[in-house]
Amino acid sequence: MIVLRNVSKVYDFSVTALDDVTLSVPKGDFVFLVGHNGAGKTTLLSLLVRADQASSGVVLVGGQDLAMLRESDIPLLRRRFGIVFQDLKLFPGKTVAENVALALQIQGHTGRRAYQSAAEALELVGLQHKSSSLPGQISGGEQRKVAIARAIVHRPEIFIADEPTASLPPDTAWEITTLLMQINRLGITTLVATHDRDVVDGFSRRVVALDNGRIVRDVQIGKFQEN
């Protein structure tokens, strides 16, 4: 599903964010991308949705070389993804339901159908009762769930989440990660960038560790840090 071959990303000719990264993620896989701040996790995710382009190497999504992608096809690529941003990026002036339905409106689904699907996605994350609240009126954990509902409402092929449990209490972080596992069970390829040790250690999934832009470890069932 996702293939990176000898990918490097250098900013301003001097700052190396990714250095000769090679990675393959099969369809339906669940991967924790771990590493400290600045390790290159967010850069890697941004290359996948063509928010950025690799300085060298090849990035393939579903067999498609992103370097060859026309500008006009970038929105189509991005619609294959469901994204939970690190800072969530919910629209403060829109209700929870409107925020979720927006992902469908972008795909051309409008009217009642979009809101029905939004309601189903909110039900999946347990927030149907908050449909008409504004993001500012709900808790941080609930906001994460809204962002997750928005990312999955259009049934994406690939789900990526950047630090989805950051600054959350352990029980909420656990709840959110369980939700991500459920999403993955639907057959959606899932990449989660995190530096939450408890979450990674508790779920025993594939772990890809980045350090200074390089992959330093890739194990099928791993821990945050090898002893």
Binding site: V49, A51, P75, L76, L77, R78, R79, F81, I83, F85, K89, F91, G93, K94, L102, A103, Q105, I106, Q107, G108, T110, G111
Partner: protein, 297 residues
């Protein structure tokens, strides 16, 4: 149906955007309304002058007072000759009695003015009244007829018409210049507002892009917002100009009742349509130019 639903969603987004930046929206709507009201007022004045000049042109172009001793057969022959002239629209024969009746009607409110003027006899001659589209030809014809033994006097009331024509040309020139200027200012105002809105929403636009929104999805609400400004401006202008039109009509009817002043509802409708189309075009164009320049997707 899907297209309508899409447009409805885009329109809803546009209205939400306008509401979210309501101070800016209010300022824009007030300025656009003022511009369009000024334009509407100009159109109204231009129309009033046009109606007036057409009416004066329609009344008569040339009056030929016939000599008292002109043989009726010769007068009839002259009339026939003029009727056969393709450049003459109409020829009316006015008897002295008809001319007197007209005069009496004109001074109906002040009959005492007529008495010393007329005495017990009718001093008015018979006449021919001619209408033509070609003022130069009429002038030549007037010179030619003035020397005819059948003619007592040729009267050309065209000077008034000519002066009015000149006035309307001046009004039109300034009006079109003003209209073009106002259109540019309105374009600039709407464009600036949209630019500020684009700037205020740049982070949201970035999120939409990352979620896979197409150029259309991002641009349409801004374009519709511009159209919305134009429409509100047109609505306010139509209301103000419409009320002013009715009020001025009523006033003129009271003050100068000999002028052909009457409420023309089809003109009012055309004026509202003109302002609405102008609003949509200027609003859409203003935001389109701004979005094209400042919203790089």
């Amino acid at each position: 149906m899907a297209g309508f639903s899409y447009l409805a969603t885009m329109s809803a987004n546009a209205i939400v955007n306008a509401w979210r930046h309501r101070t800016m929206t209010l300022i824009t709507v007030v300025i656009v309304s003022l511009m369009m009201t000024t334009l509407g007022m100009f159109l109204m004045v231009e129309n009033a002058l046009s109606v007036l000049i057409v009416s004066m042109e329609e009344r008569v172009n040339l009056i030929i007072d016939l000599a008292d001793d002109a043989p009726p057969a010769d007068v009839l022959a002259l009339r026939q000759q003029l009727l056969e002239d393709s450049r003459i629209i109409s020829v009316a024969y006015i008897t002295p009695e008809e001319a007197l009746a007209r005069l009496r009607e004109y001074f109906a409110d002040e009959p005492e003015l007529m008495q010393p003027l007329l005495g017990n006899r009718n001093p008015l001659p018979a006449s021919l009244e001619l209408r033509s589209d070609d003022p130069d030809y009429l002038l030549a014809l007037a010179r030619q007829l003035a020397v005819s033994p059948l003619v007592k006097e040729v009267i050309i009331p065209r000077d008034v018409v000519r002066n009015l024509s000149r006035a309307i040309q001046v009004v039109r020139f300034f009006g079109y210049t003003l209209g073009a200027g106002l259109a540019l200012v309105t374009l600039f105002v709407i464009g600036s507002t949209i630019r500020l809105t684009v700037y205020a929403r740049r982070s949201e636009i970035e999120v939409l892009r990352l979620m896979g929104a197409s150029d259309h999805f991002i641009r349409w609400p801004f374009l519709l917002e511009g159209v919305f400004f134009g429409l509100v401006g047109a609505f306010v202008a139509s209301l103000v100009v419409g009320i002013a039109y009715l009020w001025v009509n009523e006033l003129l009817q009271q003050l100068i009742n000999f002028l052909p002043v009457s409420v023309d509802s089809t003109y009012l409708l055309r004026l509202v349509l003109t302002l609405t189309v102008f609003g949509i075009v200027i609003g859409g164009l203003g935001s389109y130019l701004s979005v094209r320049r400042f919203l790089t997707i």
